[in-house]
Symmetry: C2
Subunit: 340 residues, 2 copies
Amino acid sequence: MSSVTINDVARHAGVSKKTVSRVINNEINVSEETRTKVMAVIHQLGFKRNPLGMALAKNRSLFIALLADNPSPGYLQKLQKGILQCCSEEHMGLFLYDCNYRSPTLVYEIEEFIDNTLADGLILVPPLSDKQDLLDMLQRKRVRYIRIGPKDQDSGDCVSFNGVKAAYEMTQYLLRLHHKDIAFVLGHPDQESSHRCERGFRNAIADAGITLNEQLVVQGYYTHQSGVDAAATLLSRTPRPTAILAANDEMAVGVLYEAHRRGIKIPEELSVCGIDDISLTTKVWPNLTSMRQPINAIGYRAAFKLIKKLKGETAAGNDGGADIFDCELIVRESTSQPGR
Amino acid sequence: MSSVTINDVARHAGVSKKTVSRVINNEINVSEETRTKVMAVIHQLGFKRNPLGMALAKNRSLFIALLADNPSPGYLQKLQKGILQCCSEEHMGLFLYDCNYRSPTLVYEIEEFIDNTLADGLILVPPLSDKQDLLDMLQRKRVRYIRIGPKDQDSGDCVSFNGVKAAYEMTQYLLRLHHKDIAFVLGHPDQESSHRCERGFRNAIADAGITLNEQLVVQGYYTHQSGVDAAATLLSRTPRPTAILAANDEMAVGVLYEAHRRGIKIPEELSVCGIDDISLTTKVWPNLTSMRQPINAIGYRAAFKLIKKLKGETAAGNDGGADIFDCELIVRESTSQPGR
DNA sequence: ATGCAAATTGACACCGGTGTCAATTTGCAT
DNA sequence: ATGCAAATTGACACCGGTGTCAATTTGCAT
C-alpha cells in the first residue's frame, strides 16, 4: 500500500527521479557523491523498486515460468526446488504452468499463458524440450527459454544429464555383480534421454562381449504403470532375467511392484535398479539402487542460465555452452549378485 | 513485441481509449452499438490486455502465489494441479514459493517475495496456515489469502477436509474387519489436521466400547521417516498391533517399509492404512488402503475463492463461508481381517 | 419545440518506472 | 583565465492501462 516510490526518494535526496533510477540500476555516469546520497535515502525510506513499473517501462517482466508435463512427480519436485532456489536468490518470480503434452491446442494454450503473465523466460521440461512448433512460437514471440534434456544438447540453451554414461555405468555395475541376463526398460520414445540411456545400456553390454538378447529390451513410457507392464512381460520370459534396469526410477518402482506381486524375492531372485534417484527410491521396499542425477543442480543451473540471459549477461562459471551433468551410482537394497 | 495496445483499438474503432477500457472491463454505461463496434475491432486486431499495465494502474497484480513447505510431495503435487486448473481457467498466473517453515526469518523472506512479485493473493498450505506472525504481516500489507486446513476452519478464508470424519471412518472400517489392537501414528503437532485425525480415531475406538491402549498412539511428523520410526516402536510392542493407521499416506508407506524389513506379511499379519490418497499409494506394494481426500478439488476451490476475493466478487456456489470436504474410503491391498 | 435527468463519452492526470536528448557541470590542457 | 571534451544531471515523453470529472448526447415528459 503505502509503498515508497522513486519519486519519494528523488524528493528526499534532492535529485531527479531519473538519477535515482540510474543508481538503482547501477549505471555508470553517476558521481560517487550522488550515489552515496541516494543510497542513503533508499535505505532510510526502505524503498523497493516496483517490478511492474519496471516491467512496463522496459517491456520485460523478468518473470520466468516452468512449463512441465512430466510423468514423474518426484523428478519435477526436485527440479522445482532447484529452480526456486535460484529464483529466490535472484529475486525473481517463478510462474508454474501445467501442460498437457497431448493437447492438440497446446501451443495456443501456452501462448495464451504467456500473454496472461508476460513471462519473458521459460524453462522447458521433457517432452516439451523438443516440441518444434512450440519452439517456433517462442522464437516468434521473442520469449527466451532454456531446455532440459533436449535432442541437441550442445546448443547452449539447455541443461542435460549424461544419460549415455549413466546407463553405461549402471549396466557395468550389474555386470560386475555377474549378471548376464540383464533386461532394459526403455523410456518414452519422444524423449531423447530414453534413447541416450538405451545407447549406454547397449554399449555396456557390447563392451562386455555379450550378445544382447533383443527380447530383454522392452518399451516403457517413463510412467509407473508402464514399468509394471514391462515387468509383466519380462518376468514371464524363460529364462527370466536376473536383473532389470529401467530408464527411470518411476518405472523401476513399477517393476518392483510386479515382482513383489509374483512373489519374486528382491534382490535375491531379481535385481532392480533405476535412473534419476528421486525421493521415491528411499520410500519403497527394498530401497532402490539408482543413478543419482543432480536434479536440483540441473534446475538451479537452468534457472541461472535463463536469468542471466534475460539480464543480458552471459552465464558465468562453467558456461561453455553445453551443460551436461554426470550421474553418481547410489547402491541401495534392490541389487545384489544373482541367485545369492 | 508488436503487440496491439488499447490505443490501437481506440484509433481503429474511432473512440477514446477509456471507452475501450470500459468495454474490456464489461462496465455498464456503454451503448450496445459502441460495445459491438469495439469488440469487433478487438477481435480483428487480436488485442489482449497487458496485465502489467492493468496491474500498475489498478495497483493490483492479479497474480497469486502458492506458499508451501509440506513434507508430502505427493500431496503438494495434487494440490498444485487443482490450483493450476483454476488459474488456467481464470487466466491468472500462479507464482510458486518454497518456504522453510523453520527459518527464523521466514516472515521477512515472504515479505520480500511479495515485494518482488507483487502477488496480491496467497494460498497457504499447512503448517503455514496457522503461523500467526505471517498472517499479521499479510494483513498489514493488505495481501489476501486463503488457508488450507487451519485451526479455525469456519473463518471463511479457508478450505479443509474433514479430518475427524476421515479418521473415524477409517477406524470403523478396521473395526469392522475385527481388528482390536489398532495403532495410530500422529501427524505433526503443529498441524491441526493431526489433532483432528486423532480425535476421529479416539472417538471411533471409544464408540466401539474399547478402552484405548495409550501405548498404541505414537508421535509422527507427517514424514516418511517418522512413519518408519513409529512403526519400529509399534512393531516391537507385545502384543503387536494387528493394524496401524497413519495420519497421512507418507507415514503409512514408512510403516509399510519397516514391516517389510522385519519380514511381516502385509496384510496377512498386519493391516496398514493411511489418509490422503496420494499417488504413492498405488506405487508401493501392496497398494495402500487410504481415505481419499479430494486434494485436487481442495486446491481448485482454494484458488477459486481467492480469485473471486481478489476480483471483488463473493465466491459463488457452496460458499457459505466454510468449505469442508469429505473423504472417501479407498480399499486396496494393504488391509484385511487380522490373522487371515 | 423545450427542459431536464440519465446515459454515454472523452480529456486529462496518474500508476511507477525507463529512454532520449539536451543542458549543465567538471576536469584538464592551453 | 579560457576553451573544450567528457562526465553528470534533469526535463520530458512514454510503457499500457484505469480513475475522475466534466462535456456531450439521448430519451422522455411537458
